[in-house]
Symmetry: C2
Subunit: 260 residues, 2 copies
DNA sequence: AAACTTAGTTTCACATGTTGGAACTAAAAT
DNA sequence: ATTTTAGTTCCAACATGTGAAACTAAGTTT
């Protein structure tokens, strides 16, 4: 259904856009060129086109390119119309107030985890800095619960794209180890992050599933080993599962419009 | 420099993306078709391509398309790398704490005002619901101050694209009236929204200018006629101007990277 | 249940837009 | 003044996008 293969000029242009975004800072044409497979004039035309379109912005003083503001406008629409994000918002508020720990709402984007929303107990919400962030699927709580409920054909494709980089000593670094973990998650109905991505950071996560059992997204409560234990987090499982069911129900029956 | 003319296949595809986003809710193929100038198969291919690329997401149950999550990821990069938004954040926090009214950071996107960030005195920050929102340039405080400092050739193009719709009795509805207002703003160094966009809503706005006087963005403090008067808001002008200068300075000298 | 309507998808000859080697210009570096 | 590097334009060869027409699937009417 979804191709990683670039289709057509549009796909190539968007791949260039991703490239630029991946740098994480404004870049000069030459820098993009050095990381790109395209010949100079071809890449140049892509960059021009994207710039004309407002998908890239060009700083004439520094002669650098960065992802353009048009994306911010489009993303607002994407967020507001996404099945999950607007519906889940009040539930995140409630959860956050209840548990007093960091709460995440995420979704699979290709083979990565994409964070759609966040509540942090300590400081007030700072969404843009977090929503839109991506992380690995194979070593985060939300990532694994979503994978666990992803059917075979897709799952294989996604697993093939994981880096299996060992962020910590606890990281699962082989497809086999991950598959076993996914089986456990399905059996249990929820999953953990046991310091697999960052030392000292643990989490419990539940999937948000459609009626047909397809994973829409994931919900997690994150804490530190200093403050919580996995056992204590596990006590939240029933409540999280109920919240996930509520969100799934609302997502299936509502549809919110973009408003002030 | 920037074209509204569609260049190539990429431009056309992105125009389709805008179309879909403009609906404000998930749409079926036929709905897009009815608003599009393209013949059925052509549009169909665009929609397919965009869907494959993750720029549109397709809901198989409802058979609807909506802007895709890939945009959220890209927008995160755009926001984090934008010259203004990350730099301005702490200043907005401070301003908001100081004045206790709604504070906006905006930028020009094509001929529209695009809100990049917001602080609301009442409830904690809810950025995604606001950042990315667009508004008219000719009848908002931030819009007018940015236009006021936009040089002739561009300004004409932008003004030609304004609708001059009369949102309220106070709305400036002719290019001439707007030009006169812009002159006043340049002379004064700041501008107002005198209930021109929404009845009862007033604001004071200042431009954020580069060393060369090019407008990077705008900063505004919004209130209601019930709580504030224009005279009282005007007292904030010096402080806002100083903040704008500070932001401009930081924007020119810093460059922040994407971090946690 | 057959006939009709509407929404979505596939096909294919044609032409338009994309490609990239080569050649050019602008600006630094030597 | 000369060389090097970065950015830009040209254009012939060719790959890709185009859209009328034809088709399938689903829903509606008689």
């Amino acid at each position: 259904m979804s191709r990683d293969t670039e289709d057509g000029t549009v796909g190539k242009a968007l791949a260039v856009l991703d490239q630029v975004a991946a740098f994480g800072h404004p870049v000069r044409f030459g820098e993009i060129l050095s990381k790109s497979a395209y010949p100079k004039p071809t890449l140049y035309r892509f960059v021009q086109t994207l710039t004309n379109q407002g998908m890239l912005s060009y700083d004439p003083d520094r002669q650098t390119y960065a992802p353009g503001v048009r994306l911010v406008r489009l993303a607002h629409a994407a967020w507001a119309q996404s099945t999950l994000a607007p519906v889940a918002r009040p539930y995140l508020d409630a959860l956050s107030a209840d548990v007093g720990e960091t709460v995440h709402l995420a979704q699979l984007d290709n083979a990565q985890v994409l964070y759609l929303d966040k509540r942090n107990a300590v400081q007030p919400v700072q969404m843009y800095s977090q929503a839109g962030k991506v992380g690995p699927a194979y070593c985060t709580g939300v990532g694994k619960v979503m994978l666990a409920f992803t059917p075979e054909p897709q799952l294989d494709r996604i697993i093939a794209q994981q880096s299996f980089h060992a962020f910590t000593p606890e990281t699962l670094t082989t497809p086999d180890a991950l598959m076993e973990e996914l089986d456990n998650i399905v059996a249990r109905g929820y999953g953990f992050d046991r310091e697999e991505h960052e030392p000292g950071i643990i989490c419990i996560a539940v999937p948000i599933l459609t009626e047909k059992g397809r994973p829409l997204g994931g919900l997690s409560v994150t804490s530190t080993t200093a403050r919580q234990s996995l056992d204590k987090l596990e006590k939240l499982a029933p409540m999280l599962q109920q919240t996930a069911r509520d969100i799934a129900y609302d997502a299936a029956h509502w549809h919110i419009k973009d408003e002030d």
